[in-house]
Symmetry: C5
């Protein structure tokens, strides 16, 4: 799990809970079927109209994978690649059979090496898979951004519906306050869905997409070096030169 995302998600919910409880309010005031149906049902409907069922479900799968699958630092990838290159140099490519490899993408590539595929073929297969991942992330971003736009719009629609119903029947003055509270809940849910869930996830998927593209490129380059039996030290140097700018981009406190 991506720790920052988890912390932000849990922290956000906690903030909402605390500020309700801190006002002596009851969380039940915020549980109401009407706004929930309008905002969640409506947002889902709009996104379905725009992107279809497959892309809608796929976006959640992509987001789930992006947050729960293990992420390897570039250093870990380079280290593992050097270890494998060492083994291949000593015992040949076939000796890699059975070697323990943590990174799934590297494992797949090594299997292709052992199976004796040409460099061209291996590169093509792995690049295709890398592009598939990038495109999944791209579609995920599109869907979550669309949810980030549809959420507040459906919230406004829900609130307007509530206000229209309330105002067309104002015989009981005591019911006005609670009816208005329920109407406003739709705007509240719409704003929460967009700003605290959908848009941050879309942004996160964009960052993850760049990271994935880089770390998979790294693996592909390492495998091509291993295949032709390059010196592990040369591979290490080449990989480190390969990524400096991008790698540094993902961390901000290793510089003076």
């Amino acid at each position: 799990m991506d720790f920052g995302t988890l912390l932000g998600l849990v922290g956000g919910l906690l903030v909402l809970y605390l500020s309700i409880a801190g006002d002596g309010g009851s969380i039940k005031t915020f549980m109401n079927a009407h706004p929930v149906i309008v905002v969640f049902g409506g947002t889902t409907s709009v996104v379905l109209m725009k992107f279809g069922i497959k892309n809608f479900l796929g976006a959640f799968k992509t987001a789930g994978k992006a947050f729960f699958f293990k992420k390897y630092s570039h250093e870990e990838i380079i280290e593992e690649a050097v270890k494998i290159a060492d083994a291949a140099r000593k015992g040949g490519l076939l000796s890699l059979e059975g070697i323990e490899i943590k990174n799934e993408f590297m494992k797949k590539g090594i299997q292709l090496l052992i199976d004796g595929h040409e460099p061209e073929v291996m590169k093509k297969i792995l690049t295709k898979e890398m592009n598939l991942t990038v495109e999944r992330h791209m579609w995920g971003q599109k869907v979550f951004k669309a949810m980030g736009e549809a959420g507040p719009a459906m919230g406004m629609i829900g609130t307007l519906m509530g206000l229209v119903l309330m105002m067309s029947n104002m015989s009981d003055p005591k019911s006005i306050g609670p009816a208005m509270a329920i109407a406003l809940l739709a705007t509240f849910y719409g704003a929460v869905v967009a700003n605290m869930l959908a848009l941050p996830i879309a942004e996160k998927l964009e960052l993850r997409s760049n990271e994935e593209r880089l770390s998979k490129s790294l693996v592909i380059d390492a495998l091509l070096g291993i295949q032709v039996g390059q010196n592990p030290r040369v591979i290490e140097e080449a990989l480190k030169n390969y990524l400096p700018r991008n790698k540094r981009g993902s961390s901000v406190n290793d510089a003076a």
Copy 2:
């Protein structure tokens, strides 16, 4: 019919109905001539001013076609092309007369083949038709996006009109609530028209436009191969290489 769009459209209307009924409200509260005239009449007027009658009507025709015409998957197109290529190889181009072809665009192209047109001419005619389709979609998008902008604007104008009328005559306090309800209905309709109809359709047309362009390119390439009597296997391979990235783009769950 495009299933996701249908589901989203019906789902959206259902959501609106449920949340009105769920509040014990009557759907009649939302039926009122004033806001309907302002929002629907006004939006139509604005779009007519911007794009003229032909483009306005054309946009609905384009949207209708995009949603109701049968869509062929790239696999179906390749399969059909291979079948035809087989037949052409065995019996010559003339033997294709009378062969059953599901895809309309392929049918038209085959007829050009049978009529003995040069490859250059056939490619020109079919490319022209492909471009016409893309441009129809482009104009459709423009019109629906303009409706998505004009809808909320007219909604606001309608609500302001209602409020001005209400406030300039407040002698009967009991009429204030219902008058305000009617005024708010204009904003409600404007938001619904834009967010639950016009903008999703515009987005959908953009996706359909890309799909159409790709599948028509695919057919044109297949026909050029068939015309020169290429091996059906070669055609299949070429078509599959042709589209990988784009094809994958439209589906998100066929990758690890």
Copy 3:
């Protein structure tokens, strides 16, 4: 007159009238000097500050010309060009003196031909005029877009002024409603000016600009062909090839 624009403009005003009358309201409620001065005077002031007097007045002139001057379809232009080319072939360029020509731009070009100008010179003069037209449209668009931004801003300013005045003196409760109605009128006028006038005109000018550029290019090409005595059939073919994509762009229902 551009029929769609006229229809949209009249339709929009009708919609406003109907929905006022439909509520049993009086159109007089919407006539008030205060908001009219703020919105129309203020919008004019802002646009003058931005673009100066010449460009401000020029924009209206450009819009007037764009809507009232006769527009020729590309087919009419090609037809007329072929007719003139026929005449020129039979009787020489000088025989074109006195020939009736509907299209003003073509007429001007033919006069240059008769006067014996070199092709280079004629092309330069006509291209310069074409660019002048395009630039007039561009400035017209800028001015109307600026009005579309300034209108709602001045409407808000007018409403705020009305509210401030009303709230600073609330001794007579009965005057609150009507005072607020007048304040809201400013927002109403600002929204109407922007959404039902200025922005649609700006959009229309953009479309007209593209059409003008294309049809004037067409005339220039025709004249160059006529000058060197090309076969009218060749000219027709060349002109038709010249514009297919663009021509189709302006109409959406001539395709399968």
Copy 4:
């Protein structure tokens, strides 16, 4: 002084005055220290944070210069250049000493000519000065655009402050109206500052920047021609060819 800008500025203030007076209101209602401090002080603070003191003050200086300094039409510049070229042809460059030159930039360039600088050096010095002017305008635009964003934001902040203070102490119902009026004044001032001052000035500076760049380029080209003793007629022709498109861009009514 730029007449359109002056007219727009004075007209805008007049519009505000008239619509206050037209409602029988007193201009004193709009004079209040609280919103003035928040909007003007706050906007200044935000712009200072963004751009620093030098750029903030420089923007006003730039705007002042842009509006009050004499602007020369391209025709006047060409005319003056031709006159000088004539004089230089007859009496040599040195005879230009003491000649009366209206355009400041031209004057500076002529002095460089008389001092016997190389064409390269003169071009470098004058181009540098031209770029300095363009950059001053660019910074001026940035500052005024930032004011156009900060103004409404500070207006909202001021209104929120006023509302919070008002609502936390509502013991005297009679004070609610006036307190709310004062609160709304902040939004009013923010909207006026942004829409009727800062943004129009930013837009104007952009136009002026393009005009200045063009007219200074014109002067530089003229001086280079004068220095090598070109025929005044050739210089005139070259300058006219140089600018047609741009020149026309700044005026809209010299074309059919």
Copy 5:
């Protein structure tokens, strides 16, 4: 410390204080746990979800450095470079050991010179460090811009929560005003955080980033000249030619 930023920051806070005190209000009215938790806690959560903990903390570190670290004018850098070049010319590179250098980046580079690194190596190391600084600023900008978006969104969410709680329990009319005041505080804090803190800092970081890139490039160029023993006058001239446009860009009042 960057003086303009400090002045703007202090000035902004003063403006808020004055306009509260100027209305006879108490600053305590604006101290309330509920909106503080929602806005500050919520904004932090959203930014953490988007960028993770490292980038979040790094942004504050970057902003702190940008505002508190000494900034050198380009003139100071050039002057110091010339002084060092003089010393190096007289006593050789080794004589630079122990020379007092104010600019940290220059100091680091001189040390590399003394250590006898090749020009290529030195340039690579220093360019890498320059890029690291630019990227830190870029991430800082991203984080502060995200705060500028999340702040108002969380403010709206907080206000909606307050309103919902208030309206669902309106038994005591006297509590309505103060409850609404507290609800509005969330919007107030969101607007203040975004407009008076986060967005100006993001903008400032962008300007600082450009300045840093330029002044570090300047140092690198100076060091390369010093290393090969160029004439200090030549170095000075080259550096001055190097930066004219950019340097002038950062100051607006040194031109006619």
